[in-house]
């Protein structure tokens, strides 16, 4: 009924034409259909018939009705029927539409836009002046635009409006009030997303209160507001990426899946989360190996399409790689005295550590190498290091007894020979605490713990540039960390040890942070975050969370002013920078609290979005009328007897349909008889008789071939052996139980769907329970294309993916003395439809259980095709290269395999029969 009531007419007065229908009825009644004409020689007798028979025929009542319906439909079409026309409002005057186009509107944008379109259409139809005000601020301080729109303009805006990726600011709206007051009898409509920044709510309330003094306000919003959590700034916590999620206050309980997506769009992790009632924040811990974690480019909430449910990651969230120099032969007897131990501990939170020799690390192109206390380096190595630094590497060295007594090459500053001891038997100095960190240092801003003291250090020779090279110093101004820019890289020296031997710096938190900052240095080779640097917009997010390359009016951001950044049209979220280095700006990093607005607090009429589009019914109604006219024509022809064959045609058609249907049913019945068994019936069928099974690929050709192949093999088994196998059964890997089948044939197709967790468990159980699966990639004919091992053929790739998570022991090619080669027939090659493919089988030597039966056989010879027979017992596929011997061998392989799976190592033991008999005899 709803559909009927939502039809309205553009020109309702045309409907009065329906009153003429009785007239049409009368007209149609007195004008009978054109008779058929025949030439008739004996017409003289007809003249003598009674005259009143002549006009006895009139139009049949149902034909009359049909024609009346046609007439009515045409009248309806002229009246302009329209579905879902918004209800007419008779008010006149200006209409101001305030459209919430902040990112919160993205989730309900379709409905919002549909409603807006309808409202604009309706308003323009009523010839009222339309104003459209968008609430997302273009630029801070600029007034939202309010200018009268021409009809077309308004429709264009309504059709092209897109949600922005920054939030709405309602604070600015009140500046419009003076101009709104000047409008003529205005009416206000607010299309709201239902989610606002909490700070905006008082402003908005105020604004609406004053607005209602000017004119009536109607609020449209989604019936149930879709609130998705905003992803906050993730933090890296040793092995985990911790992602905070914030749900707008007042949102309903929510659950979803957080996915991590790498550069090429692959999802590498997804974790579900749940918000209970009244819970607004949650954490999701993504436990991902470091190397992969570095590839993550964005976090997003599945199935959401708004900019807040996306968090872009830049280099700041990537864990750095660091090379730690260790000597190969080093034996760690006392780890607490070993600098590698301390460095490892300090680097682990922020770095992925690679250990190796200097040459190895340089060769690996590590961008950061940490070198403990070392004396003079061999010349060749030193030169390599210098080259590497010049290319952009960062070398971090630590002082120690060895360095103190070397001649001081490859250090940022000239060192005095020997070391300065601040505490000892011969010194009255106290261990020195750390002094303030120079402003030019990357460590600037780190808090300095008071309990860190230095007992020993190496000293730098005073020089004019020493101060510039100092990154950290002691209280007395002697440098503790010095650094020198060499080429594109840095050479950094800690003037103390990496062990607590000289200073307890190595076990302080500051040490870890210092290393982290140096790590930033190593990656952002030419970056310094705190320096003034302008990053141009690179890829910007739209309101739905998609990245776009066009930057529009966005302006570069200044790295120094990141703290004060406000999201607006000039600075939308997205990547800023270039492809080498970019910084991500996300909605989630701005601490704004969003909440679902209770619309009841505003003095306004509340309406819901109506997503049903306005549908013009003129064309469908006219088409229906045309169709009925065609029907009428056919019926008229029939009445005139001009379709003489109609009866025979329809009879023949009916007969044909019946025959076709019965043939269909018959064929379906025979083939579906066993294939479509389900549940218990299938389990019974599988258990009451010995049956082979095949995995259903949902490729009907392959499945049919598998079925017919196993049917052919079963027939040969019945003919030749004591194995009485019935018809094979298809197996849905996700649904059906496998354990009933001694042998399962699995044709691997390139598009075989990935296995679920459950299916993998089931398969592993099946293997453990003694089942055997014959994987057949059926692509031996593609050897020419993919090489003899078929490694890169799509089927083999799929096979590797499918079996990657199965418990599969080592497999090897079938050895010449394997039981399969003599379980029933003696044979050494195993051709199927194709010949020559290698057959791999699980290596059961040394494996206990399962009676020595391999659980996996893999080949590419397309055996099912060689075995396949149709209902009449004819072979369905030619063998290649092809002769009957090959088919015979294929059957023998199948029989051997079934025998092998059923009898286990019985045949293997037969080898020993003579020996056993001999022993028994004696």
């Amino acid at each position: 009924m709803a559909a009927i009531t939502s039809i309205s007419f553009l020109f309702p007065w045309v409907l009065t034409a329906l009153l003429t229908l009785p007239l049409i009825w009368w007209l149609l009644r007195i004008v009978p259909p054109r008779p058929k004409s025949v030439i008739f020689p004996a017409i003289r007798f007809l003249y003598r018939l009674k005259k009143d028979e002549q006009s006895a025929a009139t139009t049949p009542w149902w034909l009359l009705l049909l024609r009346l319906v046609i007439a009515a439909l045409i009248i309806l079409a002229i009246a302009g029927p329209i579905l879902n026309l918004p209800e007419q409002r008779d008010s006149s005057g200006d209409v101001v539409m305030i459209v919430d186009d902040g990112w919160t509107a993205a989730e309900s944008w379709n409905d919002l836009k549909a409603t807006l379109n309808k409202l604009v259409q309706e308003t323009t139809r009523q010839e009222r002046q339309v104003y459209i005000v968008t609430t997302s601020r273009e630029v801070e301080g600029r007034l939202p635009s309010l200018s009268p729109l021409a009809d077309r303009e308004a429709l264009g805006i309504a059709a092209s409006l897109e949600p922005k990726s920054w939030p709405s600011y309602y604070g600015d709206l009140s500046q419009l009030l003076p101009r709104l007051e000047s409008l003529d009898n205005p009416e206000f409509i607010w299309l709201s997303s239902g989610i606002l920044q909490e700070t905006d709510i008082p402003d908005l309330e105020d604004f609406f209160t004053r607005l209602t003094e000017i004119g009536p306000l109607t609020i449209f919003h989604e019936e149930s507001v879709i609130a998705t959590p905003v992803i906050g700034v993730p933090s890296i916590n040793s092995e985990k990426l911790r992602v905070p999620l914030n749900l707008p206050a007042g949102a309903a309980a929510n659950e979803g899946v957080l996915t991590a997506i790498v550069d090429d769009g692959k999802i590498i992790a997804s974790l579900p989360f749940t918000f209970l009632e009244n819970e607004t924040s949650a954490f999701v811990d993504l436990n991902i190996p470091n190397k992969i974690r570095n590839d993550i480019r964005r976090l997003e909430i599945s199935n959401s399409r708004n900019a807040g449910s996306i968090f872009l990651l830049d280099q700041r969230w990537q864990r750095r790689q660091v090379g730690l120099v260790t000597s190969v032969s080093e034996q760690v007897d006392q780890p607490l005295l070993d600098e590698v131990h301390y460095l490892t501990q300090a680097l682990t939170p922020f770095f992925d550590i690679t250990r190796g020799t200097i040459e190895g690390l340089v060769a690996e192109d590590q961008s950061l190498i940490v070198l403990g206390d070392a004396a003079n380096l061999p010349e060749g190595i030193e030169r390599k290091l210098v080259d590497w630094i010049a290319k952009g590497g960062v070398l971090v060295r630590f002082a120690g007894p060895k360095l103190a007594n070397s001649n001081g090459a490859l250090v940022p500053v000239n060192l005095r020979s020997g070391n300065r001891s601040l505490q000892g038997a011969m010194s009255w100095n106290q261990p020195a605490p750390l002094g303030p960190i120079p402003q030019s240092s990357p460590f600037f801003g780190l808090s300095i713990p008071t309990d860190v003291a230095v007992n020993k250090q190496v000293l730098a020779n005073p020089s004019p540039e020493l101060l510039d090279k100092t990154w950290a110093q002691l209280e007395d101004g002697t440098p503790l960390v010095t650094a020198d820019r060499q080429g594109n890289g840095w050479l950094v020296l800690f003037h103390t040890t990496a062990t607590p031997e000289w200073s307890n710096l190595a076990i302080s938190g500051l040490f870890v942070e210092m290393l982290r900052e140096i790590g930033n240095l190593g990656q952002l080779t030419s970056q310094n975050f705190s320096s003034q640097r302008s990053l141009p917009p690179f890829q910007l997010m739209d309101g739905f969370g998609s990245l776009r390359s066009e930057t529009g009016i966005a302006e570069p951001i200044n790295t120094a002013e990141m703290e004060d950044l406000i999201l607006d049209a000039r600075h939308p979220p997205g990547y800023y920078g270039d492809e080498n280095f970019s910084i991500a700006i996300n909605i989630g990093q701005f601490e704004a609290d969003y909440s679902v607005v209770d619309m009841g607090q505003f003095p306004a009429t509340i309406r819901y979005f109506d997503r049903s589009a306005v549908v013009d019914l003129i064309l469908p109604v006219l088409l229906a009328a045309l169709l009925l006219v065609l029907v009428d024509q056919i019926v008229s022809l029939h009445l005139q007897g001009k379709l003489p064959a109609l009866r025979t045609v329809s009879r023949a058609a009916a007969l044909f349909i019946v025959i076709a249907a019965s043939v269909n049913v018959m064929s379906v019945e025979t083939s579906a008889q066993e294939a479509d068994l389900d549940g218990d019936a299938k389990a019974l069928a599988a258990t009451l008789d010995t049956r082979l099974g095949y995995i259903r690929t949902h490729d009907s050709t392959v499945d049919r071939m598998s079925h017919n192949g196993l049917a052919g093999l079963s027939r040969q088994l019945r003919n030749r052996t004591a194995v009485e196998t019935k018809d094979p059964l298809p197996i849905d890997i996700e649904r059906d139980e496998l354990i009933f089948y001694p042998l399962i044939y699995w044709p691997v197709t390139p598009d075989f769907p990935a296995l679920s967790e459950q299916a993998i468990l089931k398969l592993n159980d099946y293997f453990n329970g003694g089942g055997t699966i014959l994987f057949d990639t059926r692509n031996q004919n593609n050897v020419g294309q993919f090489g003899p091992d078929l490694y890169n053929s799509p089927e083999n790739i799929r096979l590797r993916q499918l079996t990657a998570r199965l418990d599969i022991p080592r497999i090897h090619q079938v050895p010449p003395d394997h039981v399969v080669t003599r379980a029933f027939y003696l044979m050494q090659t195993f051709p199927g439809r194709y010949d020559g493919g290698d057959v791999w089988i699980e290596d059961t030597a040394g494996i206990q259980g399962n009676d020595g039966v391999a659980s996996i056989v893999i080949g590419s010879n397309d055996w099912a095709a060689a075995w396949a027979i149709d209902a009449d017992g004819r072979y369905q596929a030619a063998t290649l290269p092809g002769n009957e011997r090959q088919r015979e061998l294929a059957y023998r392989f199948g029989i051997n395999l079934v025998m092998y799976t059923l009898t286990g190592n019985y045949k293997a033991d037969q080898v020993h029969i003579p020996a056993i008999l001999e022993r028994l005899g004696q």
Partner: protein
């Protein structure tokens, strides 16, 4: 060029019509031969003495024999007087009239051929069998006298291919008809019975025997149409539209049968033969009726 079949009452050009008829003749002649051969008449004489050309027997002179018939040469050779008798030859002449009016040129899809074709076939078959049995025959309207023999048949065929036979009314002007000849009228007789009656009495007055072969299309006999139908005449006249033909079918059939009855009555009164033939029935039926009625005898051996 594709030309739709034209169903028209319009008069076709005479030449075209003649050609059309000539085209149908060879198969019709073949069919007529088949038809005639099916009636294995065997050729035989009357085997009695009579007035004829051929010798029949010598007979002893009796007192009632004319003296002029004595064969003196034979009598001189023998003891008694003999007269020479010749075999009896009846001067049976059959005149055939095949109606060629417009209504004859009608064949519905229920019939094997049109009425005209069937009438032509019957005429040819009759002529052929008469020719074989050595009786004279002719087509009413022809200028020649009735004759017999293969040449005569060929001439007959030529006549048949002529377009117009005289109409029923004009038959009275046909001369050449000798007394005591037999008239075979093949027509659909879609005319007023009084006209037929008039014509029959004309022939009877001439002393002719006759045969009315009434040919009708099954459609004419049954009126097998349904629903609203407009009937168009083949000759001049108004068309007529019937709302529901099935309602008047019985009335029509009784009218048609009454017409047949009337024809039968006309024939019976003057002891002519009448036969009704539907074109969906085999032609042999009609021919059999003709054959037996005319009592066609075989020719000489």
């Amino acid at each position: 060029m594709f030309k739709p079949r034209r169903v028209s009452t319009q008069q076709l050009d005479d030449r075209v019509k003649a050609e059309r008829l000539a085209q149908t003749l060879p198969p019709l002649i073949l069919a007529a031969e088949n038809l005639v051969n099916a009636f294995d008449m065997g050729v035989h004489g009357r085997r009695r003495a009579g007035t004829g050309e051929d010798f029949w027997q010598f007979k002893q002179y009796g007192p009632d024999d004319p003296t002029t018939s004595i064969d003196w040469r034979q009598s001189a050779k023998r003891e008694h007087i003999y007269i020479k008798q010749k075999e009896q030859e009846t001067a049976e002449t059959v005149w055939i009239w095949r109606d060629t009016s417009q209504t004859m040129d009608y064949g519905s899809d229920r019939a094997e051929q049109s009425k005209l074709d069937r009438a032509t076939l019957l005429s040819l078959a009759l002529a052929l069998s008469l020719s074989k049995s050595g009786e004279k025959f002719g087509l009413i309207g022809q200028a020649e006298k009735a004759s017999t023999g293969p040449a005569s048949f060929n001439r007959f065929v030529g006549r048949v291919s002529e377009i117009q036979s005289p109409s029923l009314i004009d038959l009275k002007f046909a001369d050449q008809l000798s007394n005591k000849s037999t008239v075979v009228l093949i027509s659909d007789f879609l005319v007023d019975p009084s006209e037929i009656s008039q014509m029959v009495s004309h022939f009877v007055n001439l002393g002719c025997r006759g045969f009315l072969m009434h040919v009708a299309d099954p459609v004419e006999a049954d009126l097998p149409f349904d629903g609203r139908t407009r009937f168009l005449p083949m000759t001049e006249g108004d068309d007529i539209t019937l709302g529901r033909v099935e309602v008047v079918r019985d009335d029509y059939q009784s009218l048609f049968n009454a017409h047949r009855q009337e024809l039968l009555e006309i024939a019976r009164k003057v002891s002519w033969d009448y036969s009704f033939h539907r074109t969906d029935a085999p032609a042999s039926e009609a021919f059999a009726a003709l054959y037996s009625a005319l009592n066609i005898r075989g020719g000489k051996a």
